[in-house]
């Protein structure tokens, strides 16, 4: 039932009044003051009835709206597909991250690297139970990290958390390690920079997290199984009994400066300390993940799986990673990151352990973004003000990105055994690299984007014609990505 507009009500009352007055005037001679008063009372009562009718309708609508709020909501939007209970204490969300990549190398290094990749096909299932308990189960159906011939299916995330207070919450399971700023991903470019190859991606453990000091500080601190760097795959390292303590502090020191771009400045510091050990048997897991270039090509291989010659992780493992992020609004964004990794290694010849040594490797990167179409650059990307629509002539948002990054592997890895090093070959491997990249990101809408990157990497050593088996050369690639996410 509709509410009768006040104008209609007034008109109705006026009409009734007019009829009453007309009647009164026609019978003016006979009409008494009592008649007029009776008519006035009739009008008053009609007005009251109309008002009561309106109010009852309003109450019914309020009651219906309140009841609707308690009903389960099924939602489909640019945020994904979800089912949420009326009180929001229970929810289930279906997500998707699909990345289809094309890789094209212009250098003269290893053959057969060009091709198409199902880089990531993830279907996260997340939700809330009992208002404070969250969960996330994310299978990986793509996971084509390096080689075009190997596609694996696995479990990327599986965790439960309890939101206890803003300053103290608990999370347990397998999830993103706190040490790196952007583990396993990169906001601006298709592939991660060198920093990530020295830091872990996913780990299994339990951590506390929250915001403290009036939300100026965001912390994560926990105990983890410890895993090889830069891999999402489960490995035997996680069951070796060694543990790692790791955490990350993120500070927003200028948060209180209202309406200032500086308030968005974020400083971070991630760290991890523990033991990391592999096994020395030929073909055994050495506890190490090979170092890769930004183009995901092997830059350093620690050990020959067939002969057993090389090094394994065998002791103390310390990682530090300060970072700076600035998303000041539009159109700029800046990210800087550094990583230092110190690991105790043991050199093996075949299955025989030789010397043990420490080596420290470092990496860094600086990334910049500029949104050509003027939208706000955020940590998760850019939401176009006019999504791509060919018929309407709107093209979405475009962002130019640039990156400089480098890596310097510990010299001890390449020292000979007599020198107390790992005796790794710096010609078949490389001792370091510096890469210069640029790209164009096209955000068709909030969920779909196309990315195009070109990056040149200069290797230190590596690929020397003088080296037996030297296969690496400086790297120049053109990568493209078509991504859908919600």
């Amino acid at each position: 039932m509709r509410i009768i507009p006040s104008a209609v009500r007034t008109a109705l009352v006026t009409a009734i009044t007019a009829v009453g007055l007309t009647t009164t005037s026609l019978h003016a001679q006979a009409a008494s003051q009592d008649d007029i008063n009776a008519l006035r009372e009739q009008i008053r009562q009609l007005d009251q009835k109309l008002r009561a009718l309106e109010r009852n309708t309003e109450i019914k609508e309020e009651t219906a709206a309140a009841a609707a709020k308690k009903q389960t909501v099924v939602s489909a939007s640019d945020k994904g597909f979800s089912i949420t209970s009326g009180d929001k204490a229970y929810s289930l969300k279906f997500g998707l991250l699909a990345q289809f990549d094309s890789r094209l190398f212009f250098d003269d290094g290893v053959a057969n690297r060009n091709g198409f990749f199902l880089r990531r096909i993830r279907t996260p299932l997340s939700g809330t139970v009992g208002n404070i308990y969250d969960f996330n189960i994310t299978p990986e159906l793509g996971a084509n990290a390096i080689a075009s011939t190997s596609t694996t299916v696995g479990l990327i995330d599986a965790w439960l958390s309890a939101r206890l207070t803003p300053s103290f919450n608990i999370k347990a399971g397998r999830f993103i390690s706190p040490i790196a700023l952007e583990p396993g991903s990169n906001r601006h470019f298709i592939e991660s920079p060198f920093v990530n190859t020295l830091l872990p991606n996913r780990d299994i453990g339990i951590e506390s997290f929250g915001k403290v000091a009036a939300d100026y500080v965001d912390y994560r601190l926990g105990v983890y199984s410890g895993t090889r760097n830069n891999t999402q795959a489960f490995s035997t390292d996680e069951g070796d009994g060694d543990k790692k303590i790791a955490g990350r502090l993120t500070l927003a020191p200028l948060k209180s400066i209202k309406d200032s771009a500086w308030s968005k400045l974020s400083l971070g510091f991630g760290a991890g300390v523990g033991n990391q050990r592999g096994v020395g048997t030929i073909g055994g897991a050495n506890g190490l993940q090979n170092i890769v270039t930004n183009g995901q090509q092997t830059l350093l291989s620690y050990r020959n799986a067939t002969t057993g010659n090389g090094v394994i992780a065998n002791g103390r493992h310390v990682q530090l990673s300060p970072s700076i992020e600035w998303y000041p609004g539009n159109p700029w964004s800046f990210v800087g990151e550094y990583a230092s990794e110190k690991q105790t290694f043991t050199r093996y010849v075949g299955a025989v352990a030789n010397n043990t040594f420490d080596a420290t490797s470092t990496a860094w990167r600086a990334t910049i973004g500029y949104v050509l179409t003027g939208e706000e650059a955020t940590k998760s990307g850019v939401t176009p003000s006019a999504p791509f629509n060919f018929e309407n002539g709107s093209w979405g948002a475009f962002e130019l990105v640039g990156r400089v990054s480098g890596i310097d592997l510990g010299n001890e890895l390449f020292y000979t055994g007599a020198q107390g090093g790992g005796n790794l070959n710096k010609y078949t491997n490389a001792t370091g690299a510096v890469a210069y990249g640029a790209g164009l990101n096209w955000y068709l809408n909030k969920n779909v984007r196309l990315l195009f990157d070109v990056e040149k990497t200069d290797l230190t050593y590596g690929g020397s014609p003088a080296a037996t088996g030297g296969a690496k050369a400086d790297e120049l690639y053109w990568f493209s990505r078509f991504q859908l996410s919600f």
Binding site: R51, E54, D87, N131, S167, F168, L221, K243
Partner: protein
Amino acid sequence: MKFITTILSAVALIGAVQAKDIELLNVSYDPTRELYLEYNAAFSAHWKAKTGDTVTIKQSHGGSGKQARSVIDGLKADVVTLALANDVSAISKNAGLLPANWQERLPLGSAPYTSTIVFLVRKSSPFYGKVKDWNDLTLPGLAVITPNPKTSGGAQWNYLAAWEYGRRKFGSDAKAQEFVKAIYKNVPVLDSGARGSTTTFVQRGIGDVFLSWENEAFLAVKEFGADKFEIVVPSLSILAQPTVAVVDKVVKKKGTEAVAKAYLEYLYTDEAQDIIGKNYYRPTSEKAKAKYASSFPKVELFTIDDAFGGWTKAHQDHFSDGATFDQIYLKK
């Protein structure tokens, strides 16, 4: 294992030492908005001075019965300050969130202030000057505004006050039921709470008489003018005793037990009693009673225990499904 224990202890400590900002949720009934707005500020200042902690109190208001239902259904109230003891008992009985003896934990049966029911009469009404007592509410053509007793605590006080008047005047429960039925025949709108009925009567201009909490009536006259409304005090009314309680299971889980308890205990202090009097609730401390004695009209008040044998029986006899209200209103 030792170092893991150490780390987890350190992690727990980080959370513990930072818990300086405290938030409470007070789930209350409709007409207490203004009272608790002022009281919360006073308590926050008191708690800050006493402990250094910052306590923020969030408020939720609605019909008392509806509010109790929300808490039973999961609304995380640290404290409830409801219109009826029966609504608090319902939370204890149906959700087990606080013990059955909750009224024994604070003085005066956990009722730090009282109120009563009066009539607010519209001066422009043709019935102005004709409504003096409960029996005038049955006049033909008169429109009476009162909320729904199924959802509003205030409406239950109204209903029972009218019932007791009818019983005393006409001599039996059967006659009282006929009398109350005649009043409800004149009710054109049933809001879910007292504040909704205030809106209906004061802002939407519906009805001739509003059966109102005493403090709501005073606020309406203060806000909209004595030229528009007049408070009429009937010959007999009910002593309304809104009650307060800590919701034990919620505060234990949230770690707010101490501050929630202190929040309610502070209602009995001189400072709080003064705020209560200023907001037209009848204070219970002798000092504040004396100070505000002239503010409140003299009226014969009866209690729910004396007239109806307590809230449990009153609810069962009058407001449970199929009881007298359903008999009266569903057959209207």
